[in-house]
């Protein structure tokens, strides 16, 4: 089944003027159903934000899409550009950035931010007077539990949590059907994090937009989402219903990630880091990129790239944990590598 958002074979490459090219996202297939809330976790630099930017067509040079297709509600958006792409953003896909100070223009009031967005997408018959923009902006702010008086404020006059809420309200202005939340709570303290996440959850529940929550905080993601994707070195290596992540069969990397969290109620908390360093993403060699850090790695692990295959209630890309289908994919593998 193809969902609202469907990606096939997406690759993103960063091509700096000097130095090695980096394949930050590698052969990612992804389907997000209408109204689904999906989490995407992984360590820093694994390509999760890059994937989020690719799905919303916001990659900036030197990063670019290198092959693959992304369809949104049946339209191939990977090949759109300019005005056609801009038009897709009304009732289309939105991005909520991590808002330190910087997701909002420091010299424009929040009201102006709303006005800029609404006017940019005005169609014939839309009447965006100052009063109607203020009304709409006030409504949107109310949805994220802010008062309408915030419209007259400049970004620096708001707290971090308020700014993050404003960013969410702005993203909602175009009534998107798909929203990527890129680390929406990372810059906030724990209490505010919790409150903002609750707002996101209740918005998603009431408006039923499709959401992709990108975070390095597994706990936050498991609490909020229906489904969890784990990313490692540019590939999605596990796909599982969130409710079942704490049990069942996992990719060894997910096991290691889960080992990084302690139970606060335990008498002795034992935390395990993940040994080794994330791999160099300029390498294009075949094989499982986690093999060098993996306690379970065997001889065959470095020969070809493991594909997602059923394991327990989800899918795992590992020769050890989901062996059977991966044996077949060996022959198909040189073909995907051959694209480069």
């Amino acid at each position: 089944m193809r969902g609202l958002v469907s990606a096939r074979g997406v690759n993103v490459v960063y091509e700096p003027n000097r130095g090695a090219r980096i394949w930050s996202v590698r052969d990612v297939d992804l389907d997000l159903a209408e109204g689904e809330f999906v989490g995407l976790v992984g360590e820093s630099g694994c390509g999760k934000s890059t994937l989020g930017f690719a799905l919303t067509r916001l990659l900036q040079p030197p990063g670019r899409l290198d092959g693959g297709s992304i369809s949104f509600d049946g339209t191939d958006i990977a090949s759109l550009s300019g005005e056609q792409l801009r038009a897709q953003r009304r009732n289309g896909f939105a991005l909520v950035l991590q808002s330190g100070m910087n997701a909002l223009n420091p010299v424009r009031t929040i009201g102006h931010h709303f006005g800029d967005i609404l006017k940019a997408h005005a169609r014939d018959g839309d009447d965006y007077t100052r009063a109607s923009i203020r009304r709409r902006g006030g409504d949107l702010l109310e949805q994220v539990e802010l008062k309408a008086e915030v419209l007259d404020r400049y970004p620096h006059e708001l707290s971090g949590g308020m700014r993050q809420r404003v960013v969410i309200a702005l993203a909602l202005a175009l009534e998107p059907r798909f929203i990527v939340f890129d680390e929406p709570t990372t810059a906030l303290d724990v209490m505010v994090q919790k409150a903002v996440m609750n707002t996101i959850k209740s918005l998603q529940a009431s408006q039923r937009f499709t959401a992709l929550l990108i975070s390095h905080d597994l706990g936050t993601v498991l609490e909020a989402t229906d489904r969890l994707l784990v990313m490692y070195a540019g590939r999605i290596i596990e796909d599982k219903p969130s409710a079942e992540v704490l049990t069942g069969v996992h990719h060894p990397y997910t096991d290691a990630l889960l080992g990084c969290y302690g139970d606060p109620r335990a008498e002795v908390v034992q935390l395990h880091g993940i040994p080794g360093m994330p791999p160099d993403l300029s390498t294009t060699g075949g094989g499982c990129l986690y093999a060098d850090r993996c306690a379970l790695a065997r001889n065959g692990c470095r020969d070809s790239v493991p594909q997602l295959a059923p394991a327990g209630s989800g899918r795992v890309a590992c020769f050890v944990r989901a062996p059977a289908p991966n044996a077949r994919s060996k022959s198909a593998d040189p073909q995907t590598e051959g694209q480069r």
Partner: protein, 331 residues
């Protein structure tokens, strides 16, 4: 309001410090106006007698009393704009000499500073927005080329080509000899005709600074999250370029523009010198050549004060451009 009060107090204090420095510096320098004047006479073969010396000292109204009383009479004279008589133009008071030259410099250097700023900023915004394209390379390359021209060299090149070879423009002065400055149309057009070559020199050689500054700020600003977020929200690229990127990229340049406006009154000694332009820069040159202390002192004062006033005004206006500064107003 506290912001304004603080700025006013600061302005008065710096103004006083500048006045005092201006008083102290000539007195700390070796030599005196009297020595310089007598030296001039001797160099012209005049036998200097004691009587001449005394007469000269009286004419120069030299220093009487101790430093403190000199200081207070200096302050009083300055506030009354009484700077004494210049040696170079003995028939006029210094104030009169300066007031005659001031409009020429303010018009020439002021207008070219504004043109260079506006043009340079526009080019910089354009190059930064189209970074990496052929248009960007063309603008950057052109600006690099022009920034390598020394103003006096470029001025002489223009003189050679347009005044000497083709004789399209006059080579010297602010107006044709024989005319008296007035506000009639024929005189003004004559003045404009004389000012074109120096204006082009000043504009072309100061343009590139604004282009580079603006282009770099623009590229930095384009990397900001709010630009990405604006794009994510599907804003028109014109809105993003002007209201999100350029609007913020201009902030540091506004301060720099204020400073260069303040420096206008200092004129441009080299360019005014080359074109024999009757402005303050030329006057300063003459004053230095003639050891004309009253004129020099008054000129330094005018330059310092106009710089201070411009900084003060820019500080007050900056609040309008950057709301983040307003926070201090509330606090």
């Amino acid at each position: 309001m506290r912001y304004v009060t603080r700025k006013v107090v600061l302005f008065v204090l710096t103004f006083w410090a500048a006045l005092t420095l201006n008083f102290a510096l000539p007195r700390l320098m070796p030599g005196s106006p009297l020595d310089a004047a007598l030296g001039n006479l001797q160099a012209n073969g005049v036998q200097v007698t004691n009587a001449m010396r005394d007469a000269m000292a009286a004419q120069l109204g030299g220093a009487e009393g101790n430093w403190l009383s000199q200081y207070f009479s200096y302050l009083g004279n300055t506030l009354r704009l009484n700077f004494g008589t210049s040696f170079s133009f003995p028939t006029q008071t210094v104030s009169h000499t300066i007031l005659q030259a001031l409009p020429w410099t303010v018009c020439l250097v002021g207008v070219t500073t504004i043109i260079a700023f506006v043009l340079g900023t526009l080019l910089g915004v354009y190059a930064g927005w189209r970074r990496g394209t052929a248009a960007d390379s063309t603008v950057t390359l052109g600006a690099t080329l022009f920034s390598a021209f020394p103003p006096f060299w470029f001025g002489m090149l223009l003189l050679y080509v347009f005044a000497f070879k083709f004789q399209i423009f006059a080579s010297q002065g602010g107006y044709s000899p024989g005319l008296t400055p007035n506000l009639s149309l024929s005189f003004l057009s004559d003045a404009v005709q004389h000012s074109i070559l120096p204006a082009v020199t000043l504009t072309v050689t100061s343009l590139s600074g604004w282009v580079f500054g603006m282009r770099n700020n623009m590229i930095n600003t384009l990397g900001e999250d709010y630009v990405t977020f604006a794009e994510a929200n599907g804003l028109r690229s014109r809105t993003i370029a002007l209201l999100y990127a350029a609007r913020n990229a201009m902030l540091p340049n506004i301060t720099a523009f204020g400073l260069s406006l303040g420096a206008v009154v200092g004129g441009s000694v080299l360019v005014e010198g080359i074109f024999g332009y009757p402005g303050l820069g030329n006057l300063l040159y003459i004053a230095v050549l003639n050891h004309d202390y009253p004129l020099m002192q008054a000129l330094f004062l005018v330059i310092t004060v106009s710089m201070l006033v411009t900084i003060f005004v820019v500080d007050l206006l900056y609040v309008r451009f950057d709301p983040r500064v307003r926070r201090e107003v509330i606090a």
